[in-house]
Point group: C2
Chain length 330, copies 2
């Protein structure tokens, strides 16, 4: 009897700016990789064409025949219909009701599984990063908003049709600042990178952050995590203060989530954390421990994400394997 | 070949005031039932003796031989060590480090599985009550505190060693009232029955709730859910106002939890809800829907708990079966 041929899994990360396809062996070694700009504004047909080209080239680079594919996992911005494999609506791309699962299954003749991009990133950190092997791992990714994901007993925690873990939209200040969701005082209205950046340009405008003013002016669109770090290093105390307050507010919100979910590992990732891991992590962790209940305070590890841009691709591939092989679903 | 003999499961609910043992068939029909006062103050040895007597008598009533038991499930007040089956510390009973699993396994020669009492109650509502068959069900039980439990894909969601879902301790008002946990503005500091009762006796003391004053005086210990309802029916508008505000605050907190957990069913139970299901449920539901994100707003059903005092016994028995038979663990 012939030895069973190895199976390969593809992880695809569909981002607002760029897309990435990674071909993985069963032990999650990268066999091939391709990136492209997403250019969502060119429309769905063009966009899906670019996805297919990117997938084909990554497969070519890997030397893996499409017939050897166990499946393709896709990390996509939401909201999604997970069961039908449809991107319902992505403000970042301007796409609506795109049946990516059906479109890619037709093209590649293998199962396609879609997941929320933050869920995929958290799952990637669980499979091969900062939360490797954890029984339960909460992913926290402060960025323009605040993304969240949860892995519990080896599975992505999700709703029946959609993803969930909208941790940026727990209300932490009933009369707090307006949030993009329409409520007041959501965690992300208080401490997302967007909230930080707007507080910093206010300070720059008032003349209290001269280095930031020189580096980036007062245009919100120009404020990147790296620039905030540089302004701090050059001496803008108020920028540091805003960041510390923000990390503490996130830690307080995290404490509420820890009281509800009791994760073993909290993975902290995203651009803000990558730019200043020590400062940010220290403040978040101190508050998350101080503000959570005694029973949970020392039951979790807080770790900075390890996989960066590859987390969502790895997570999507591994999740596709989990769904197809272990759950026997598609 | 002889027909396989039926297996029976026992559910035990260890409460602060009373204990209850129910013997169940495999289709969760009650075959025998016994209750006793808990009298935790008499100490551990006496207390465990009462548990064993209660279990024995329920078995006798059912006519089920101990050899036919698949296992015993115990719903216990926390904190617990779920893996070792130990009650770590129960303020209500004054017990510390009681290895109930080992003690009862020795006595009854069958697997014993312990669960947090609120988790057991939520699981009971999932097995045979208001959340029957739901993919994910969030139990919310406002009482002295606010208990929470979550069933996800047929399992109780819990931490590695302990239970979790401490939904009473999400922070909803950073500068709010002091909570028993030491923080400020926890959900239960704002809207537990204890918070309601103390606001009501303040009003009674001020002369704004004359009916309540006549019914119960100004002793916090005398304020029961039924008395609050009676005061409202007799015309204490301020008591009704306090209850409505409290239900709305709970609905707002619930919205945050819905954004994180996306449950299919929210089960609302406990004495306050049982005393005035229509009023309380209406206010909670309206706010939970209005304050949750558009993607989740219409994805959940909110239901009043059905099983009352039997929820934890049924849930404990069914959870024991799940752990012993389906997970193959003990």
């Amino acid at each position: 009897m012939a030895r069973k041929q190895a199976t390969y899994w593809v992880g695809f990360d569909l981002g607002g700016t760029k897309m990435q396809a990674n071909v993985y062996s069963e032990t999650w070694k990268v066999q091939g990789q391709r990136r492209r700009k997403t250019k969502g504004y060119e429309g769905v047909k063009e966009g899906v064409g670019r996805m297919i080209d990117t997938l084909r080239e990554a497969l070519q680079e890997s030397g893996v025949m499409p017939s050897r594919l166990g499946g393709i996992g896709m990390g996509c911005p939401g909201p999604l219909d997970l069961q039908r494999g449809v991107i319902l609506d992505t403000p970042n791309l301007g796409w609506k009701n795109v049946p990516v699962k059906a479109m890619l299954e037709k093209e590649f003749k293998c199962p396609v599984v879609i997941a929320n991009d933050v869920d995929a990133g958290t799952y990637g950190e669980y499979v091969g990063g900062a939360a490797k092997g954890a029984r339960s791992a909460l992913g926290v990714f402060p960025g323009t908003g605040i993304g969240g994901g949860l892995v519990y007993n080896g599975d992505i925690y999700h709703g029946t049709r959609s993803s969930c873990l909208e941790i940026g939209h727990i209300c932490v200040q009933p009369d707090g600042p307006l949030c993009g969701c329409g409520r007041r005082g959501c965690l992300e209205a208080v401490c997302s990178r967007l909230a930080i950046a707007s507080a910093c340009i206010e300070a720059a405008y008032r003349g209290q952050a001269p280095h930031l003013l020189k580096l980036a002016g007062t245009d919100l669109d120009k404020i990147r995590s790296g620039i905030l770090l540089q302004a701090i290093e050059e001496g803008d105390k108020v920028v540091e203060r805003i960041l510390i307050d923000s990390a503490r507010a996130l830690g307080d919100g995290l404490a509420s989530l820890i009281n509800v979910l009791a994760p073993d590992v909290v993975v902290l990732g995203g651009g803000l954390v990558e730019a200043m891991p020590a400062l940010y992590r220290r403040e978040v962790e101190a508050r998350a421990r101080a503000a959570s209940m005694a029973a949970f305070r020392h039951q979790f590890k807080l770790r900075v994400a390890k996989l960066g841009d590859d987390a969502a691709s790895l997570g999507a591939a591994a999740w596709a394997r989990r769904v197809v092989v272990e759950h026997g679903r598609r």
